[in-house]
């Protein structure tokens, strides 16, 4: 039995068979139940764990159809349009689903119908089963009004008017019902009867191309899994080639026999079709996962789907040297699959003077055009910008002439540096239009070289006595 605090009293939320036979039901106060039967085993309700379990079951139901929607707290909606023939018909699908879920320890009631509302009602308040397309009206008639997904107050109000089943409501004219109880009632009726279309909210986007393989005997070896994925990729390559497209985002879903689902995804920077490349991507991904990719007792269903596809034209292999752009793209993909796509980055430039924003490094597959460095007027025999920039400028203690002289010496990371040569200042004013508080402080940058020859990029923050009384000094970057 599961109890949860509802409105500051512990109430029973769920009972098992033995408790139900004793006469306890959900909604009863726990204190009353304990008074009747002192030796009760009660577990605390954990809605979070329940939600996770529901998601896990929804993952598992992916094997029937990609369109799976959650119906919290304890239901799922599957759109099996076009999928039923793969399992030998709707009735066979229904039986297979219930049978497998019961084997995993979950009691299930399933109903198949051609509208969402009807299926919901039959599953929760009816006997379940398959409703043929023309029988929706007949199936709905005997159901209680709660099967229409109405609010409890509406159901109570309708009961006061002695309208208890759907048949009663259907017999009445619609306009007075809508006026009395609101449009919600009429809308639910229309949805259940199919006069208004309703679709479920699938958890994941529908992939463009899918290929799958079932096994009578579960497989567990990594080499086997990769070989099957390569074969599935070959099937997908044929279909992709027909449409002239390549895959940008691939997802491999591995269904374990004990109900868990393993999802692997791989993204590429350029569209791919080659099965060997796809196999290599997933090999890197699996080796990167390590222990997490535990096959358990084996996989009985493997599915490879292309979630995003892009146009890929057939290229002529030319004679002579090419620019190896594809090879670099493959390297980026392999590194991205192993370490994450955000770990491989390229530079982009922005139109701003502030050094830390003038150039940023973005993930390589997002950067489309080449970055070009703007010319800076400060160039001399030494470059104007440092090779390395600290993400957070490091504060230093510096001694400098006021109001705007270069530093004579400074202390950084507890080492004192004597400045031998300094070039500057390069005044960079912050963008006043971005800072609403007006706290922008101008920076005066200096390129300094100390007595040993090491070079630093320092700046003074704030103009002396125009913006701050004691300007602070920072070290922003290192030169060669």
């Amino acid at each position: 039995m599961v109890a949860a605090p509802i409105k500051s009293a512990l109430r029973i939320t769920a009972v098992d068979d033995a408790a139900a036979r004793l006469g306890l039901n959900a909604g009863m106060a726990l204190a009353d139940a304990r008074a009747m039967y002192p030796h009760l085993k009660v577990a605390e309700a954990d809605p979070h764990a329940d939600a996770l379990l529901l998601e896990a079951v929804a993952d598992w139901c992916d094997r029937y159809t990609p369109l799976v929607g959650l119906d919290p707290p304890d239901g799922l909606m599957l759109d099996i349009t076009g999928c039923a023939h793969l399992f030998g018909g709707e009735a066979a699908l229904c039986r297979d689903l219930v049978h497998r879920l019961e084997a995993q320890g979950l009691r299930t009631r399933a109903a198949i119908s051609d509208t969402v509302g009807c299926a919901w009602g039959i599953a929760r308040h009816g006997k379940g089963g398959v409703i043929a397309p023309g029988d929706t009206l007949a199936a709905l008639q005997p159901l209680p009004l709660a099967a229409l997904r109405l609010a409890p107050e509406t159901v109570a109000a309708l009961a006061q008017m002695s309208l208890k089943t759907v048949a009663d409501v259907l017999a009445r004219p619609r306009a007075p019902l809508a006026a009395r109880f609101g449009t919600d009632l009429v809308r639910r009726l229309d949805q259940a009867l199919g006069r208004e279309t309703e679709s479920i909210q699938p958890r994941k986007p529908l992939p463009c191309y899918v290929a799958e393989q079932r096994f009578a005997e579960p497989i567990a070896l990594e080499a086997d899994v990769l070989g099957i994925l390569e074969r599935l990729a070959g099937q997908l390559a044929a279909r992709l080639e027909q449409h002239g497209e390549g895959a940008r985002f691939l997802e491999a879903v591995l269904f374990r026999v004990d109900g868990k689902v393993l999802r692997l995804s791989a993204a590429t920077s350029r569209p791919v079709r080659d099965p060997a490349l796809v196999r290599r991507l997933f090999a890197d991904r699996l080796s990167g996962l390590g222990d997490e990719a535990d096959p358990g007792f084996g996989f009985d269903l493997l599915r490879l789907s292309v979630v995003t596809a892009e146009r890929l034209d057939v290229q002529q292999i030319g004679f002579g040297a090419d620019d190896h752009g594809d090879d670099v793209a493959r390297l980026v993909d392999r590194l991205g699959v192993r370490f994450g796509l955000a770990s491989v980055r390229r530079f982009t430039t922005h139109d701003t003077h502030i050094p830390e924003y003038a150039t940023t490094a973005l993930p390589a597959h997002l950067v489309k055009e080449e970055a070009t460095a703007p010319l800076l007027g400060q160039d001399s025999l030494a470059p104007a910008r440092p090779l390395h920039l600290f993400a957070q400028p490091e504060p230093i203690e510096a001694i400098a002439e006021v109001p705007d002289g270069p530093p004579a010496r400074f202390r950084w990371r507890r080492v004192m540096h004597e400045v031998a040569v300094a070039e500057g200042p390069e005044r960079i004013a912050m963008e006043w239009w971005r800072d609403a508080d007006g706290r922008t402080l101008t920076r005066d940058y200096f390129r300094v070289e100390d007595r040993d020859g090491a070079r630093f990029w320092l700046y003074r923050e704030g103009l002396f006595q125009r913006e701050v009384t004691h300007p602070r000094w920072f070290l922003h970057g290192l030169f060669a």
Partner: protein, 264 residues
Amino acid sequence: MRASGAVSEDLAGLRHQIAGLEGRARYQEIAPAVQFAVPALDAVLGGGLEPGAVHEVAPAAPLHAGAATGFAFALAALADRTRPGQTIHIATGFGTAETGAPYGLGLSHYGTAMARVLLVQVPRPIDVLWAMEEALGCRGVAAVIAMLPSDGAIADLTATRRLALAARERASFGLILRQRTTAQPSAAATRWEVAAAPSRADAFGGLGPARFALDLTKNRRGRCGRFVLEWNHHERAFADAALSGRVVAAPVDRPARPPLRRAG
């Protein structure tokens, strides 16, 4: 029995022919050496840095970390000139916190176009070695710079030997950058210890070209030695800086202040 020199020449010629028949471009098998254009240094290296090998760079002291990375990027710029391609920079997150992340504008001014730079950030030092091996096996890569934390003990003899083999197969240029010098044996072709040297001021008393005091501690093809080089970032070339010390006019009738150059 022919002399071994003649045999290897025949082998090279045969490889050339086969490469031509297979339609591969020539420069994949044979790459030109990365030359410093400084006669003394090139003579010691036997014509320049070996293209299909891994080289090591380390700063002489933690203070000179910036100079060491500058030297590494300068070598990468030279390699990019001889064989254009991408420059791949691999580092751990901790390493970028130590010395800062590479700055695109600075790289472009220094000698490597920032559109051709790829930054890879990996979680552990061993991943740095894996990524370096992958990058060395990729065509279209001009240079690979891998930054290892502290003295990079993970790049030992077996690991560097593996990297050297990967580099030789594709004649790519690999650089291992350590944060501290180490006496650990490795299969690198050359090992450099870099320190910053005071540069020569320009005509107005401002900063001159960046100067490096190099100590070649390991050289497979010749002697070791010390050299002082300047990097000219306009021409992207090294120049010999035999002069030590600074040439600055002593200010006799002006107050003793560090010579500064004001912005225009």
